[in-house]
Symmetry: C2
Subunit: 711 residues, 2 copies
């Protein structure tokens, strides 16, 4: 027999053959008594071993004084003893060859220094032995396939109305125990079928990525729902996302932002433009992990991805017999970027043949209630579902009459037979779980409101687009970036330009001067074109804030007059000189592009519009670095100000291709940023008219001020 | 006995004492048989008179051959006869003194020219007699207070599982019949209690505003939910909104935008910047009518406003024993603009006294599961609910254990006794309708997800703020605006400036010239400051698009050279001359302010950022005109670009007060705009540094091109 600790991955946790309950109690009301009762009520078929030196028998089962006395190897030990004795119990588990110990007990890292020390002891045991540890401070694990109900949650308690249903394709991984089982509760209420559910707790050893990674490999799982407070090991995100994309199994995450927002509230450098929370949003999207806000969003995407087909494209046909409900769905779907073209001429002609004159063959196709009675709904559905111009067909109807639904189910099934088109039902009255289940059997998700249907369809379209685009996303190629050399302390603008020379991004013509005379000479040497004067000082980022910049000087006299003002903005000792820089030609657009490292996420590239006003405009986006040209282009599409790049009111279009190349290059810089550099920011980067490239008008670098002690 | 037609308002429809069913049928499966059965199954207590010459008895009731034969006056006649005979039946109803006829039958304006004529005949009868007409093409009316179930909807059919519940404070007015009863269905499923429900159909006579206005006066109604495809008589909106605000009864509207979007898709003037759909959003918000997107939003606001208290302010305390659920609610609430300050020192101290050390007395207050067992939840709730620093307290818990909830209900009730603070429950597991009902009895709404609770609380806060601000909103004062004189045909920029002189908004110094020599003279007369040259032609709005503008000319030679270019952009015959205009000083911000009439809404004022780029930036907002200074200020807060007005990175703040005065003045122009003027647009309006006012840099007017035939 294989030793549990040697069994592959986390099957010892999710599909244990034997479960020990360490600390099982005789007090029926206590948390430590409930798992034994629940395991039996849910029909867990494996062996159950209560462990407690105080008893010899509990609920008819023999009780063992310690884990070491159990007569066979134990896959999963559920630990409900007090916190202070947990490390000792885990040592015993490791010695007894237990596969996984799940610690329900609270009072660890969440409860001050003593708790933190206990949790560290747990982590040490896991590191030094074959024992894997789940929790502590968690609410347990549930797997309806085997009746594994190793939890004290009232949400799965038959005594509080829980009714077991067959196992399904939706897995739940939650850092909150209450929400893990609440999600299970909500999901079943919606008529959806749930598979493994796990509460991850403090993640002393096993963490979010371990659970998700294991569940992705589970063939019966089609979608993973997750509630996340913080990614404790964010470096594992990319690995998990790669596996999910390869297996085409979506991960849907509700991640709250509070903790990070608090941690970083005082940050004042570029990071605060986006905020670490937005950084997570951008990174998760880039990884194909769907981030959502509410329980409803989790449930809607679970409803879709647990049974629905991935759409080939964005073209949606709405089929209805209720004008209002169909129009509402069409409206909200269009608002989410789905396209609703009219059906082809021939399909329109065929449908017109069996609906009243006051019906509509546009989109929505409204066949009217009258045509429903003659089977028109299924005929139209058949035509639309087999029309190559549609990627999704959304029938809209009222499923409140259950017996009528089942009377016409065969016709419905025949209408959507042998099509690759995604079919999505919106029932504007409550469909029973029996009806929803029957639709799900046909790979048809069913939604109770137009907004939910539209949200799920658009998410499915975006996920399908993500999967199709993966080959172009360099992130998924795992390419390594070269590390850039470390800069020598704080740099002036001129110093940063020199440092960035390998990027190949042109700068305006310029000279560094030390006197008004030299400044005038430089002005003449630059051909007498208008120039800017900018004071240079190592580490000085915001020269204009201190009066160190004068723009648009057009005469030698003006240059001479400006020199003293500009130079005087910085004390003599810390001044490198004054830069005389040829003014850029008019007609371009100013963009911010920055490279930085985001704690917990790694290197990112930031792109924004607004020049000096970028903070008040907040029109910025970011991606994990490096990015391909494709991702760089997608980033520009995120920005509201992108229109100016493409020409407007007779203005010429700008050199978007050069901008995209620059963003990709700067993202490579980000990926190789030396560890003590916080940010390199090119702002503004001027995008010139098409064919003329970009110009780095200003650049600054910020170094890390303190060691990064984020845990 | 009062004649029904003389009974006040629509009580004949919503609280009829007698109902006639014209066209009642013996075929139990037919739509025309169902209302009779449903009225009796719902226990309607009034007299029921089936009318049909084919029968003498139906379901045990005597049948009359015509409405004229009924022995007593009839309040409500439900009409289910074929469309072509409807006008004749309505004539009979009018002659018989029926109060209101509700026409269920379809085949009117939605079904082509013949149907439109029939509907016009109905409208004519309503106009010429005392008979009020509801429908046609509607699904009926429902009022649980009297058992009035005058509909064929399966959603209220006991044979499809409908279970009657006591009448409640939520009224439903829907232009879609299917959605009217679907909303009823969803609302009851959520444990909420519904009052009158009406499907308005084509609104040949009675319309949306008539129903809403009547229901607002119904003392048992606290909130009106509505689904709207189009406001057929938008001029009634303001009147209804005034009544709702006076009675402090919220109206929540899901309005789809499709129809208008289609109608106006080709529009290219300023209107398309916002789109008529956004215009409705802005107008409804200004009127205090809450516009929402999905069924869920309607239900969430119904859940709140049917029982909840209006918050005094935005300060929220979250109370939880589940870290995850509490943090999620806090996160989403903060994202919606609620404030979560910590409790006062003394409250913190008291709570610390009865919770474990690993609990939290911040916000959320997390008392831990351990403290719940000792009654800590109710003690903390009592403290927070009676702390003046909080306007809302949101307890978060799991209500899945119904018996436990009722065991502690007395403590819960005592904890929130005698407080004006709004209490809002978020139960992260499913609360039964019995539990929800018990909370509602205590004026506590209950939500099943954190997102829904946060949305409802923020809507309640905003509605309360609207009610407090009404006195300042000129719209509600009903003030009349003077009509401006009609302009003499298309105007040049100079002509528009002259027309707008009464607004009192300064323009730059300028002269209209006819030759290069005159231009040079004007340049010198303006002191040799930099000038702009702009060609002038009646009706020419976008001079820069055709090369008719040159900016920043700083020498006589440059002015001379530019004159021919600029003048040549317009043929000699249509040119008024060239404007030599002093360039504005640097350092201001450019704003668009426009006055226009919006079909179906009336006069509006539009404000936006972005200058010539306003289209690509789409940073615009609008309000119904005229607006007070308060509303003008609120409009600025809507815009993303507003930050530049308040100074940034050392730039001075700008003259926001002058801008607000200008917006208010231009809104008065909008309110008095002559009927053939489509738009007056000041773009850019330059906002100068604080104390220096604003400058009208350019202005244009567009006339209506075609007669406005919107129905």
């Amino acid at each position: 027999m294989t030793s549990p600790a040697a069994r592959s991955g986390l099957s010892v946790l999710f599909e244990p053959r034997t479960v020990a309950l360490i600390g099982a109690s005789a007090d029926a009301q206590s948390i430590s008594a409930r798992p034994l009762r629940l395991l039996r009520q849910h029909g867990f078929a494996g062996a159950i071993y209560p462990i407690n030196p105080k008893y010899t028998e509990l609920q008819g089962l023999p009780v063992y004084p310690s884990i070491g006395e159990v007569p066979e190897p134990v896959d999963l030990a559920l630990v409900v003893v007090p916190a202070r004795v947990v490390p000792g119990v885990l040592e015993e588990c490791a010695a007894a060859g237990v596969g996984c110990a799940m610690v329900i007990t609270s009072g660890f890292a969440e409860a001050g220094d003593a708790g933190r020390a206990l949790q560290q002891a747990m982590a040490d045991i896991a590191a030094r032995t074959d024992l894997r540890i789940a929790g502590p401070n968690c609410e347990g694990v549930f797997n309806p396939r085997t009746g594994l109900c190793a939890t004290f949650s009232p949400a799965v308690d038959p005594e509080h109305g829980f009714e077991p249903v067959p196992a399904g394709p939706i897995a739940v991984v939650s850092q909150s125990g209450g929400l893990a089982f609440a999600l299970l509760n909500h999901t079943l209420e919606r008529g959806l079928r749930v598979g493994p559910v796990v509460s991850t707790g403090n993640e002393a050893d096993l963490g979010w990525a371990d659970y998700v990674s294991y569940l992705l490999d589970d063939e019966s799982v089609r979608v993973v729902l997750s509630f996340v407070e913080s990614f404790r090991r964010p470096e594992q995100l990319v690995e998990v996302a790669r596996k999910a994309a390869r297996l085409r199994k979506p991960i849907v995450v509700a991640k709250i932002g509070r903790t990070e927002a608090g941690r970083r509230a005082a940050a004042s450098h570029t990071a605060s433009l986006v905020g670490v929370d937005a950084a997570y949003s951008a990174a998760l999207r880039q990884l194909g992990i769907m981030r959502v806000d509410d329980v409803d969003d989790l449930l809607d995407l679970a409803a879709y991805f647990s049974v629905g087909k991935l759409p080939r494209g964005r073209n949606l046909a709405v089929l209805t017999a209720s004008g209002g409900a169909g129009a509402w769905l069409a409206d909200l779907s269009a608002a989410r970027g789905l396209r609703l073209p009219p059906p082809s001429e021939s399909v329109q002609r065929e449908i017109r043949g069996f609906i009243p004159a006051y019906g509509s063959v546009g989109n929505p196709v409204d066949i009217t209630a009258q045509a429903v009675l003659g089977g028109g709904f299924e005929r139209a559905l058949d035509l639309l579902a087999h029309s190559p111009e549609f990627d999704i067909v959304a029938p809209v109807g009222t499923l409140v009459r259950e017996e009528r639904f089942f009377q016409t189910l065969d016709e419905f099934r025949a209408a959507i037979a042998e099509t690759e088109t995604a079919i999505v039902f919106y029932s504007y009255t409550r469909a029973s779980n029996r009806v929803i289940g029957a639709l799900n059997e046909l790979d048809v998700p069913c939604f109770p409101t137009p907004g939910r249907a539209a949200r799920a369809m658009s998410s499915a379209v975006e996920y399908a687009e993500f999967l199709r685009g993966i080959d172009d996303v360099r992130l998924f190629e795992g390419r390594e970036s070269a590390t850039w050399p470390a800069p020598a302390g704080g740099l002036s603008e001129a110093g940063v330009r020199a440092y960035l020379a390998p990027l190949g991004i042109p700068s305006p013509e310029e000279q560094l001067v030390q006197s008004a005379d030299e400044a005038v000479q430089a002005f003449k040497a630059l051909g007498g074109h208008p120039v800017a004067l900018k004071v240079q000082s190592p580490g000085l980022a915001h020269k204009s804030d201190i009066g160190g910049v004068r723009l648009g000087l057009t005469s030698a006299a003006a240059v001479r007059a400006a020199f003293d003002d500009v130079a005087g903005a910085v004390p003599d000792g810390s001044r490198e000189g004054v830069l005389v820089q040829r003014m850029a030609p008019p007609g371009g657009a100013e963009v911010l592009v920055a490279a930085r490292r985001e704690p917990g996420l790694g290197p990112v590239v930031v792109v924004g519009f607004g020049g000096l006003d970028v903070e008040s405009n907040a029109d910025v986006t970011l991606s994990m670095a490096p990015v391909s040209a494709l991702t760089a282009r997608a980033m520009l599409e995120d920005l509201r100000g992108t229109g100016v790049l493409y020409g407007t009111r007779g203005r010429p279009g700008l050199d978007v291709d050069a901008l995209i190349r620059a963003i990709a290059r700067i993202s490579e810089l980000a990926a190789g940023l030396p560890s003590h550099v916080a940010t390199v920011e090119i702002n503004p980067l001027l995008v010139l008219p098409r064919g003329e490239g970009v110009l780095m008008l200003d650049a600054a670098m910020e170094l890390e001020e303190v060691a990064d002690d984020v845990d």
